[in-house]
Each structure stands twice: as structure tokens, then as C-alpha cells.
Symmetry: D2
């Protein structure tokens, strides 16, 4: 029979986010999962040699750039596996671009929005001019770089070190020795811009090099008996790329936390349970893992705040 862990303990009135999450761990449903996720993340960020955050959601446009950067400054994670989009939007901001809050209004006239120069990400807008500025500034940076084949990690480190915006998470990663890896590099505006700016040069970006690098990190952890942990935000390519490095190295993650809103029963990777990942030897059967079914814009800042305050 399924074991009983204890009784549901009624939540007390608390104002401190860490106290609230601790209390939630003794309740039910996703509040309980959020509380358990905090416990596992405390272990990941203190016990693990390899500490990956895999990010698929629009973390930067949604105002979480600062908390992510702060987490890297504090070395809570030492590898970020990200969509190209988050890196793109971090650079866009580093070069002065902004994200705008659209009124949650009755009219969804995306044609009119575009006519005014705005592209939409749900309730956030970006001005196309900011992409043009980004391209121009990127051109300047790329002039400095030698022609060769880079991993995404290497090119983003080069770019990060050349950014002056201290609020950039790409810069924070570069400065703090944290790797940023983008498994589908050309599937983003940054990738497109970089490709168009370097087509006549010998500069290339090859994700296979990141694959090797990440697998080496896993092998090192295996050799040294280090524990490994991962926080998966939203699934997608970053989730698969990070987990497959564990599979290849034969070093399942000891700890894993996943924030998603995707159910398992549609069979997609983003919604795949961490228990399913056990059958792929991506996550350790005897390890600790927990999925929180919640919009990352709510769950991620709660968890990061509770970890850092």
C-alpha cells in the first residue's frame, strides 16, 4: 500500500516566503510539491558538484532576469542550459532594449501592434527597433572574435565578457565561471543574427561541442563521486539536452526538480515525469525528485527567493 507520510498540517499565517514554502510541504497537491522542491533545491545548491538549471520559458521577458543573475552570482548553479530566446532577450536588454507590459485588454489586434513596430509575447511586447540595435551591437562584438568553430558555451562566454550591462545574466555567467549552453542555437534570433553576420567568415557555432563538454562534466562528476542536480524550468530542448548528457555518461542525476504545466498523458517530453526519466537512467531511481505543476513565473521566483533570502 502507498505509505502515509504524516497528516496534512494546516498552513499558518506567515509573511516570509521561506516559511510559507516550508509550511506548504506539509499540505497537498502542488503547494506540497513546491515545498518539497525547495528542500531538494537546497540539497542541489549545497551538495552537488554539477548544478544545472535548464530553462525553456521566457524567463527574461517575464522579469526574472535579475533573480537568475543573482542565482548565478551566488553560484547556486554552474551550468545554464537555455533556449536561444532567453539569451537573445538578455542581450537585447544589455544593449538598451526593453520589454513592455501590454494591457490585458479586449482587443487582440496583432496587425495594428506590428504596424507600430511591436512583436508580442503573450502580454509582453518588444520593439523591432531593439532587435536592430542588438544586431548592430552584436556586429561590433563579433569583429573582435577570431574565425573558428565555437561551442555555444564558448561564443556566449566571449560575448558575455564583452557586455557592460551588469544586470545581464549572460555576463554574470561569464564572470562567475558558469557555463551557458544553447542546444538549438540557430533556432533563435541571436542564432539568426550571428549566422547572417558571419556567413562570409569562418566563424561557426556547433552544438556538438557543447554535447561533448556537458558529457565530460558528467563523466567528471561520476569519476569524482560528485552528486549532480538539475532544476528544469518548462521542459523543451534544454530539458532533453541536459538529461541526455546524464544518459550518455551513465550518471543519472541524484536530484531533480521540474517546474512545468504540461501533463504527462499527452506523451510530450516537457510533460514527461521524472519517474519516466528513471527508465532512461537520466534520473537516479533512489534519488530525490519532484515536479511542480505551476507557471514558472510564479514558482521560480518563490523558489529562488526562498533559497536566497
Amino acid at each position: 500500500m502507498r505509505e502515509i507520510e504524516g497528516v496534512v498540517e494546516d498552513l499558518e499565517l506567515e509573511s516570509n516566503v521561506k516559511a510559507i514554502l516550508r509550511g506548504m510541504a506539509k499540505t497537498a497537491f502542488n503547494a506540497r510539491r513546491l515545498g518539497e522542491a525547495l528542500s531538494i533545491l537546497e540539497k542541489i545548491t549545497t551538495e552537488c558538484g554539477l548544478r544545472i538549471i535548464a530553462v525553456a520559458g521566457a524567463v527574461v521577458p517575464a522579469g526574472l532576469r535579475g533573480l537568475l543573475r543573482e542565482a548565478l552570482n551566488r553560484k547556486l548553479f554552474n551550468v545554464v542550459v537555455s533556449t536561444g530566446a532567453n539569451v537573445t532577450h538578455d542581450l537585447l536588454m544589455a544593449f538598451g532594449g526593453k520589454h513592455y507590459r501590454l494591457k490585458l485588454s479586449d482587443v487582440e489586434d496583432d496587425g495594428a501592434l506590428r504596424a507600430k513596430g511591436f512583436c508580442r509575447i503573450y502580454d509582453v511586447a518588444v520593439n523591432v527597433e531593439d532587435f536592430a540595435v542588438m544586431e548592430k551591437r552584436l556586429r561590433g562584438i563579433l569583429k573582435d572574435l577570431e574565425d573558428k568553430t565555437y561551442s555555444t558555451r564558448e561564443i556566449l562566454k566571449e560575448i558575455g565578457l564583452r557586455l557592460r550591462d551588469e544586470r545581464s545574466f549572460v555576463r554574470a555567467a561569464a564572470v562567475n565561471g558558469c557555463d551557458v549552453v544553447v542546444p538549438a542555437f540557430y533556432d533563435s534570433i541571436l542564432g539568426v543574427q550571428l549566422w547572417s553576420l558571419t556567413q562570409t567568415r569562418g566563424l561557426r557555432v556547433l552544438e556538438a561541442l557543447d554535447l561533448s563538454y556537458l558529457v565530460d562534466l558528467q563523466f567528471n562528476a561520476k569519476r569524482q563521486g560528485d552528486r549532480t542536480g538539475i532544476l528544469i524550468v518548462g521542459g523543451g530542448g534544454p530539458k532533453n539536452f541536459a538529461l541526455q548528457s546524464a544518459l550518455i555518461a551513465g550518471k543519472p542525476f541524484d536530484y531533480a526538480v521540474q517546474i512545468t504545466v504540461d501533463p504527462p498523458y499527452y506523451g510530450g517530453l516537457s510533460g514527461a515525469t521524472l519517474r519516466e526519466a528513471v527508465s532512461w537512467e537520466k534520473v537516479l531511481e533512489k534519488g530525490e525528485h519532484c515536479t511542480v505543476y505551476c507557471d514558472f513565473t510564479i514558482a521560480l521566483p518563490l523558489l529562488l527567493s526562498a533559497l536566497m533570502c
Copy 2:
């Protein structure tokens, strides 16, 4: 074109739940909605004469009985429209029953669970013995009551006043002059027990009386020019019953907040937007309303904590 309200402001590191939610209001997606929900709830709980909380989720089994009771003690709401289940589980606890946390394990053997006497609500279990105790204690209370036709509000008030458990929200409501209304009374274990205990008597429960009562409250608010507000947790019957009282009285809610995980595009009432409710004159077109797409076990304690601390 859709208006731009401002820029997305990066979240600062904060430990206080109210500060976090205030910050979220300037971000995106559901964090933003959570922040906006707090602002609207502050207006509901301070400006409105009629302040309804409509609850469809398993609030009591999930450990939110205390925050709900505290909200009633502080008169944040003066009407609770609820499923019978929440009232059932409140009484079960008032008579000494417990909710148990099940291990989030590999084995979902509900047959074995039942063989040991437990019924399951996702990751929470209830012992059938506790339902038996509840029935026995309820019998005692019902002996006191005269044979007549009660509204659910009236019978729950009678029951609430006879409970000794100070942690009960049904008792807190009765003591604080807050009404508890259950639109599908016989669709719950409490309803079933009450029916079986009174079949040979003249005691009846008729929700039509609650309909009249709730509509009268709306008419009164209309006559007095009072503002009205509603917090909808999870949709279902309570959402419809509360909103239809506004429709009948021709007094759309000035303020409305909805916590749900149901999308609108499946056409169900729980996922129906508050904008759709405008077409039914259940919510005021010029009013303020906001839906937060989030598990209530996370969103509700955050909002109530921010309101009360």
C-alpha cells in the same frame, strides 16, 4: 492598438510575500496576474458591502482551512459559496477526523488503500472511520433541530454554532455572521448523511431558499449603491451559483478575481473568462477583474497571506 501600460520591471529579491506579489504585478504572465489579483482583492475586502468567496476546490483537505477561517474571522468575506465537500471535510475535522499525506510513490494501488480503510483525494487520504464518526456526531446535532425546511445557509449556521472546534471555518462563519451557502447540497457526503438521518422526519434542505437569499443580498447592494466583489476559487457550481445571483438581480460584480487552471477554449464554465461573464451581466464591464491560472493551493495562500499580514 492594445495599450502599453509600462515596462516589465525586473523582480527584486524579497522575502516578504506581499512585496513579492507587488513586484510580480509589474512582470508578466501569471505572476503579473497574481499581483493584479492582490490589488483587486484589497479593494474587494475594503470597499465592498457584499464580499463573496466561491470555493470549488478541496480547500480543507489541502490544508487551507486555517487561512480560510482566519479570513472569515477578519471579515474579509461575508458570504462563502462552497461545494458540499469542503463543508463535509471541515465537519470531519471538527469531529476529530484527519487528512493524511500519501507518499508520492510509484505504486497507485487504490484497492489496497481501500482495504486498509482509506479513500484518496490525489495525494491525501481520509479514513472511512472518520466519516462514520462524523455521521454519529451529526446525528447528535440534528436531534436538536426542529423539523422544517431550511436553506443550506440556515442548516449550516445551526450546525456551525453547535461545533466546539475553534479551527472550523463553518463555526467561524456562524460566529462571525458570515453566510455559508452550498448550491449542490445533496451532492456531498454531508448531504447524503443529513438525508439519511432525516428521511423519516420533516427536516428538509432546499437550495432554492439560498437562491432567494443571495439574490436579496444583491438587490440590497444595488439599492444601497454598495460595491460587490467576488473571489472565485476553482469554478464549478459555486462559481455559477454566485454569478447567477448577480445576473438575476441585475447587479454585476464590480470586482472579480478567479483562480483556475482551466482554459477557456474547452467551453466549460470553470474556464470561462470573466470577460465572458460581462456578456451575461454577471461582471461589470467597467469593473476590475483578473484571472490567475494557477493551482489554488499555491495562489490562494499567497493572496490570503499578503492580504492578512
Copy 3:
């Protein structure tokens, strides 16, 4: 270890809906579940003495009134447990009302929609005039009925027999000896209209009588050793009311099919698995049951068509 049932068999190109669903049963994810649901429904509709369809979605506004009626004419089910809404909209159509398809447009101006006299159900609109006609026609029917306390089943039978629209499912039920039960009667426009038309009379509707009736049906099935089956469309009150009758009678359903889009991990009843229902003895542990995660507007007509053609 989890058993392997066989290999995934690639779908063949077929035009017949039954052949497609049969093929799907050998595939994966929800297509497989849809195929399994068909097999179980074939058993429910041929082997079971008590065959319940519990309907929470807006089946009538969504154009499924005809398939539901045809299913009742063919006696596929002998009890319908429904929200008041479906009965309301069936009567609205029986009295000449219509449902309108709204353009899936850019503008969601529910205020303007209402100003023209329309209420919205996602992409469907209803004219308020049609509700007025319904009230008038209902008044005529109610004049005929004697003052007493009816179950919802009895009052809907009286109404159904007085309808002239042969496309009405309420009429089809009444004519074919199929019961229609509405567990939250006053939580619908029909309930409201009936209440307002009879407040000065002695006519009352009491769902407790339906509870007794449904439990009696279950006891009869138990006594006679009949198999029982249920098709649950969308969850909500109807799901709970039908399942609790099995619980009270101690006669778990032998067969159960559920069409829903609600995940289990938010802890709500609509998303609760049928396996969870085993722990409540609502569904037989050794019985056959299957949940299909799909909009009912797609899954229900596919299943009913495959059953009837």
C-alpha cells in the same frame, strides 16, 4: 514490472470512424485511450442493466443534442445525470431558440455583444430574447402541473412529455423511459425560472429525492447481479452525484469511461482518476475503466458515432 500488452501497430488509412477508433486502440497516448473507451462503451451499452451518462459540458450548445438524443432513442443509456445548463439549453431550443457561432475574431467585446442582446459561451452566443420566450413557454407548462414536491427526474419527465420538438433530448428521454437527473437544479437558468414561476405555489423540486431514486437503482442492480456502467463527460457535479450513488449502495461501477481535459494533480474532482474512484468503492477494482483526455466536442461524437453506425 509493468506488463507489455503488445506492439504499437501503425495506423492504417481508413475513412470509417469505427475502423479508425479500433486502430487507435493499438497505438498510444489518448488515441489509444479513445480506442479503449470504445471497447468499454460497447460493453456498457450491451451488457449493463444500469447505464448512466453523466454530462457536465455544454453538450447542447455545442451541437451534440442530436447525437445525445439518438443515443437515448436507441437506449444506449437509461439515466442521464446532467448540469441544469444542458437541460436549459435543450428547452431553449425546444421553444425555438438558437445558438449562434461567433467569428473567432480579434475583438472580444463582450459589452458590445451584450448591448445587442447576446450572452456568450466561448464561441457560441445566445440571445436573451430566447430566454424570455423560454420563461413564457415554461409558465404555460407549469400551469398544468400539480403543486407537490418533485424530484428533478419527475419534473423533467413532466416537462419532457409536454414538449413538441422531436429533436429535444429531454423529450426523447421522457418518451423512452430514460431518467434525467439534475443534481444542482437551482444552479441553472431553468431552476431559477422554475423557482420564480412557482414561489407563490406549493410546487417544489428536491434533489434529495433523486438521490434516493438513484441509490435505489444501484441497490436493484446489486440485488439482481446486474452490471453497471457509466460514461462521464467532463466531471463536475454530475460525476460526483452519479458516483456517490454507487458508493452509498456499495455497488461500484463495473465499467467506467471518462472524457475530461483536467489533470489529476490539481486535486479537483473533475480530474480525479477512475483509479482514485476505486479507493472510494465507486468503481470496481477488477472492472474496466478508461479516461480519455480530450475536448468532449471531439471525443464524444467520435465515440457515439462509432457506437451507432
Copy 4:
């Protein structure tokens, strides 16, 4: 005000899938969307010069390999943008591998499953031996290929032409002049195997070449005034890669159909509406587009069957 298109027309009892979908177009919610999707797909497959299918779901493991292959044989689409996973599983089957249906049982013991050599994809299992066979067979094919930098399209064409399994969609694409593009190539077992087999050689795969190719196709369509259409299955990387080619070329898709279960309000790309894509000039404002919220294992075979029979 939102326009009214017509009345909801009740579904007739039909057995033919095309007739059912045609009927659904006059109903509501996602059945209506499914019917509209069929109309748009008929235009895509008959009017468009560039006809892309972007596939993120586990189409091959879920038994849809045959319908996809048949669609390519009939030239319904001329470009497939896919996750690496679908290509991996197609090759696995081409080399004799199988997908197994797991019992939808009570026990989710992924450790035991793995101990027997199986990896799980929700209710489907794959034997690790089959991956080993695939690697061996791939080694044989790669020996034939010269050392150079390939696009994913080129390497998959070379591989496809060397497959003997006529049921392979990769082979069908190669034979029929249909391009297969994989935007995150190294984020899959095929990519990993190919990388490990060629690390000591000069054979490389660079998605930037696919980006150029796809953008050229869009420019050609623009120059020739061809219409372009896309069917998006499940979102993710393939959706973004295909849509960004339209953005770069300044040639928004005239027609677009999307099958997803992801809501827009979590801000993710998979759930982003096609209306949002208008603001990015990925989809034409005056074009025709429709999203169907449904598991692709149900919606995709219905649409492909209706198109081909």
C-alpha cells in the same frame, strides 16, 4: 461587435471521417476548430508551393509513422521540420526496432522497467537493444558518406536513400523529394550517435545550413508569388524554426494550422497563438489560421485521414 457567422448546426450521425469533420465545422469549441483546420489544410495541400509540416510530438512512437509517410508519398507536404526524436524512432524501426504498448496499470516502476532493458515514453516502451542495433546499422551507412559539413537535410537525405524499409518516412521523404530538417540535431539520440561515430572524422552537421535553405525556400515563394502553408504539430523547436524562416524572408505564411494542448497564458512558444505570430510577421494578418486544442494522436490522424480518403 464580434460577427455572428451562423447558427450552430447539430451534428448528424455519420460514419465517414470527412463527413464528421465537415459537420464539426458548424458546431463549437475544438470540434469546430478541427473542422476549420480541415478546410485550411485542404487549401495548404492544394494551393501552396511551400507546404511545411512541423512536428514536435512523438508521432512515430505513437503509431502515426504510416499516415505521415503516406502524406509525403502523396506530396501533401514538401518540407518536414522535426525533432530529432521522430527521426531517431523512424530509423530505429527501419532497422527492425519496435515500440511496445505498456499496460495502463497501477504500478509505475520505472526502475524495474529499466532493469529489463526498457525505456518509457508515457505508455510506450523501447528496448535499449534496439538503440544498439540502430547505432551499428548507422555506422555502416556513415562509412559510405564523405567527410564534409552537411545540413541536417542533406545528411537525412543520404541516410533516407540508404534505408530499405519502405515504411520509413525518412526514406519516403528522400525518395519523394521532400526535405526533412531537424533544428536541434544534437538534441536527440540520432545526433548523439552520429556525433560519437564521426568525432574522429571530418563529417559535421550544421543546422545553420538548414536555416539558409529554409529561408531560401521562403524567398523563392515570395519571388514567385507562391502561397505558403504550415501544419504545426505540438510546437517546440520545429514550430519556431519554421516560423522564423518566414520572419527572416519577410514572407508570412498564408495558411497555418496548429495542433496543441498548450494554453497561451503561460507565455510559452508552443502555446503562443497564431494571432500572436501575426505580430512577428510569421503568419499573414489576412491569411487563414486555426489552432486545435487536442492531443495530436487524435487530431492528426483524423485530419490526415480526412485529407487522404
